[in-house]
Symmetry: C2
Subunit: 342 residues, 2 copies
């Protein structure tokens, strides 16, 4: 049994004394201990070496002490396993030298054997579970099919993902074929993660907010929902779509255990759109961790007051920024832990 | 009197047979005629030479035939006039070599004499009005104080404007002083534009969607609203905030004549949030102009059906993309003009 089960209880809609807290990208560059490993090992070496991935996962648990761990990895290990070359370029980000641009390109993409291609992730999960020693739960994650598709088609990050979108609008059949392959792979991948020991999974839809509500339905949500349906009986699924406030109502009606919210949607409106009782996760503006600590403390309290302490997981509205001082990250976590105490 | 006054009637909440139509960035790179001038004259030469600015403004009126012209210029001519150096770098975008990072930097920023610093814009307006010969109305525009602030502090474009945001959160007094100087300048600038002959003005808040609703109120909306209040008796003001769905209710209660909406907010929700009768402008996804023409025609009809033909200005939800074929842009404009005809 996991000793600190606050996070699992929030996901199960059970009453809690205070909300659980973690931070997206909590295993990240704001930690000097993370930067030390980053300077020594390149990006995919860190992802592929179970000892490194596990160590990086556990670092914030030791230092900042959130209530949950999230396995260090990257959403782009999935397209990599699908026969799409992915490089990580220093000061540039992801670089896919052979982006998908035609139906013929889509044919080359495979739904892989997960153990053969992503077995290293499963090894990292097992090792991390040992290191965590049942202190806190462990989350596994994947990108949404649409977000993976964006990188696969665009070939790199983009401000508006117009190339990916125009691929959908001009070659919808090929686009749907690719989205389905990514979905099938992601379901296999997350099921394997559950078997390996994660206690919950989160789907990150980083670029869903680039789509209109109707296009979101067609090119993103229907695929996320396939994953949710396939996983819901086996584990707790959290769905987080950045900029996807327009889809919160739909997400809340799915089998997802919790829905992530970014900071552009107020707690009140998020509660209204999701019907009031669904577990929500978020939504502190990551830039607001640059505020003075007393401001952070005040804003955390206001955030929890607004969401309510139950059916709620305190988190940022997106990943923590590399330039956040560690004591500000700690102040955020501690402010949640102090909630309701005199 | 202006012959085609559909746009002005929509802004005045009068009944129309079909909505007026224009496209943000309609004087832009998708037009070969624009690219020809762009290859010959650099960016600020085009802005500063009234004959060029007027010619570029009128190009889309001749070629794509929207119901309104919008003066070719750039939002960054304002900080330039305020003693902040702005360069436009090829394949990079705006570059401000001396970004504002301290209260001392803010002190160096001036509220300029508009005729001395931006007289060339007024000359361009007068020339454009002559060339338009009262066929269609002319819009003048400015960036929102927050959006100008973002460039002034960040020094260049950014994905999330964290530097600008952290300046607000750590040096709020200096931030507000700079925002007020930009606001004061923008009011003088837009009043001068009205005197020079524009029939309406639009305020572009390109980066408002990076802020939480509470921070938007503090760092963006209160300054936009100062401009709206100062201009509302003299002209019609349109406010467009990209990603600012969360502020639509507030915007609708202001003296703005119309509110712009981007494509992530459905017409139904935009109407709901703005109370039903406010004139709205938008919100076709610019990437959707890459769809086949029959799809564009169908989607335009659906968009107008959803907004309703009255109290509505058909437009894109953001600027037109450089890779849109000219006949697709024409198809968009023509589909609006055909609305309601058999």
């Amino acid at each position: 049994m996991i000793k600190n089960d606050l996070f699992l209880r929030a996901l199960n809609n059970e009453k809690v004394d205070r909300p659980p807290v973690w931070m997206m990208r909590q295993a990240g560059r704001y930690l000097p201990e993370f930067r030390a490993l980053r300077d020594k090992y390149d990006f995919f070496t860190r992802c592929r070496t179970p000892e490194l991935a596990a160590e990086i996962t556990v670092q914030p648990i030791r230092i900042v002490k959130p209530d949950v761990a999230i396995l260090f990895s990257d959403i782009l290990v999935v397209p990599q396993a699908m026969n799409i070359e992915v490089q990580m370029k220093e000061d540039f980000g992801p670089w896919l030298p052979n982006p998908i641009r035609s139906a013929k390109d889509v044919e080359q993409v495979i739904v892989p054997n997960i153990q053969e291609t992503l077995g290293y992730v499963m090894d990292a999960i097992k090792l991390t579970k040992e290191m965590l020693n049942n202190e806190v739960p462990l989350i596994g994650f994947a990108g949404s099919p649409w977000t993976i598709f964006c990188y696969a088609v665009e070939g790199k990050g983009s401000k508006s993902y117009d190339v990916a979108k125009s691929f959908c609008f001009t070659q919808p059949q090929a686009a749907h074929a690719l989205l389905q392959k990514i979905t099938d792979t992601t379901i296999l991948y997350l099921k394997e993660k559950v078997k390996s020991g994660v206690d919950a999974v989160q789907i990150f839809d980083s670029w869903g907010g680039m789509l209109s509500p109707a296009d979101y339905q067609e090119f993103s949500w229907q695929y996320i929902n396939q994953i949710v349906e396939a996983l819901a009986d086996e584990t707790r699924v959290i769905v987080f779509g950045k900029g996807c406030w327009f889809s919160l109502r739909e997400m809340a009606q799915s089998k997802a255990a919790a829905i992530g919210v970014d900071w552009t949607c107020s707690p009140e409106i998020a509660r209204y759109l999701t019907g009031g009782q669904k577990t929500l996760q978020g939504n502190f503006d990551p830039s607001r961790l640059l505020s003075p600590i007393p401001t952070i403390q005040k804003m955390v309290k206001e955030m929890i007051d607004a969401f309510g302490k139950d059916n709620y997981i305190a988190n940022l509205g997106h990943g923590i920024l590399p330039n956040v001082p560690v004591d500000h990250a700690k102040a955020f976590v501690d402010a949640v832990k102090m909630y309701g105490q005199k």
